[in-house]
Assembly symmetry: C2
Homo-oligomer: 300 residues x 2
DNA sequence: CGCCCCTATCGGAGAAGCCGATGGCAGGAT
DNA sequence: ATCCTGCCATCGGCTTCTCCGATAGGGGCG
């Protein structure tokens, strides 16, 4: 059994075909075909159904899939450990956390704030659903998300608290209304991200308490776009406080004085109890975030 | 990376030399030497220190060792799963449990008493220390031992209770003493296994309550030898009841009527929370033992 | 000092890996 | 219906790897 064959198999399943996989791997198509034949001879069973428009894993192939991944992961971890390199910590996070909160934590971690443990860190940014999948499959060591979301039976810790705040540019009409009433807010048009995005969920949950008459003026594709639109005076938005910390600091955004009805927010870490070399630094990092977060991002 | 190279490496470390490993593997000595060179070139670092009397793993080699084992284990599990075979359940147990208690459990398990889950089972018999090591290293899925022993932070369950009993051959003088007093017992010479053996530990713990004046007449190398010596009228012994169940049944041994001061005994299962195919049948087996044991081996 | 056991190296035979080219096959466009 | 296109398997070749037997070097031990 050679890892090349497993890589080839994964690439083929990933790419949906042998030709595409070959190009991606830098092999000739015939070579990948050979590798698969070798793999199937070795395993004693076909792992791919070939058709004229591509390939689909057989039942045996589907059983092989997770093992191939684990095998390659283990191979990587082995090489890293044997060569004496620092362990690799594979972290996943939502975009906003990766942008605004995680960097401080990782910097502190890098500077030894978590003790003697160090690690090389990769950060994968994707949706919460995919983060949880990758965590379950062992392709990530830990993920950082907002709120609790779907059930997870592994270790979990709240590593920070924040709140959703109502922000506008200083030039926005709402910014100069004092005192601010709920009716003023209800008359404002909001910008939100599209349905399915976790920030839209936060908006919906927060906005529910503001009443049913919230107006939605605009839908943007990303949190970053939404934030920049708000800075440019395009409207108001409900956003996690930490995601606009820099703008609040610089005065590009102002936080409207409306405390009631805005949902509290927790930053949660979820991870896998591993026995690999990443276990110790991971534990240290989680403890670090638990220690740092409350001070830096506590609810006002 | 090829599993052949890992197998070669493990064999060399195991055998203490390249030549011995080559013979064991069925390769020529030069071939194993080649394989190791390939492995070291691939990893970028030497893994063995060669001397004129054999080989010793380098530091990097010691780091490689557990990964090589895990890799080969994973390879085996993969082949088994892909080919659609039943999962493999790797069990470890003390000699006495493997002799007397485990077979009934495994038979019941095989007959479907644990539900639809089935598995091929291997039983490894060795010392409690080694059992725990192998469990920690992931080379065993579950171990069955007596009493609690050293700390283990994984899942644990008491799957049976028993007690230590005082037995002799029917012809032994003590067998005809009625009523039996503690002084009679204290005057008897006991046979025990050597220090370090778990049964010696049991003896020491049980005997403590009988007083300091217990006489030790003979030291044997194994529990089986001790049992047979007892059957042959050589003396008295303190033994777990289940380990002499057959002899008590057939009348080859008699249980002396001395209840006080004999330590209770628990059969414990310890296992790893795994995500592999053996997880489900393992759970079923543990539940089966919990259900069956109290009835079959309850303290009198 | 010679012997013995260990490992590394060498050269050759066989196997495997990789490639480009070719051919078969199925589905969609003309 | 026919061609066209994209897919995969196969073939012949070259290269590389694998394994072997034989040989050489090197350190412990009598």
């Amino acid at each position: 059994m050679d890892t090349r064959q497993l890589r080839a198999f994964l690439a083929v399943v990933d790419a949906g075909g042998i030709s595409a996989a070959a190009e991606q791997l830098g092999y000739a198509q015939s070579s990948v075909s050979d590798q698969l034949r070798t793999l199937e001879r070795d395993l004693g069973t076909p792992v791919l159904n070939r058709t004229s428009i591509g390939t689909v894993p057989t039942e045996a192939g589907q059983r092989l899939l997770p093992y191939a991944r684990r095998m390659l992961d283990l191979d990587g971890e082995m090489r890293r450990t044997v060569s004496g390199k620092r362990p690799l910590l594979r972290i996943g996070a939502l975009q906003s956390l990766a942008d605004e909160w995680l960097p401080e934590m990782l910097t502190a971690f890098d500077h030894g704030a978590a003790g003697p443990e160090t690690a090389d860190v990769t950060v994968t940014v994707t949706s919460r659903t995919r983060l949880m999948e990758e965590l379950q499959e062992g392709r990530l060591d830990a993920v950082f998300t907002l709120d609790s979301g779907p059930a997870y039976d592994g270790p979990t810790a709240v590593v920070g608290t924040d709140r959703v705040v109502l922000v506008t540019a200083p030039s926005h009409p709402l910014a100069s209304v004092h005192p601010l009433t709920l009716d003023d807010v209800r008359a404002t048009e909001f910008m939100v991200t599209e349905i399915g995005c976790i920030y839209r969920q936060l908006f919906d949950e927060s906005g529910r308490d503001l009443g049913p008459s919230l107006k939605i003026a605009m839908i943007t594709g990303s949190l970053n776009a939404l934030r920049r639109l708000t800075v440019n005076g395009r409207g108001a938005a409900l956003l996690p406080r930490f995601s606009v910390a820099a703008e609040l600091e610089s005065g590009d955004l102002v936080m409207l004085d409306l405390k009631q009805g805005l949902a509290p927010l927790t930053i949660e870490a979820r991870w896998r109890d591993g026995i690999g070399p990443a276990a110790a630094p991971l534990k240290a990092l989680v403890e670090l975030t638990q220690k740092f977060s409350p001070a830096a991002w506590a609810m006002a």
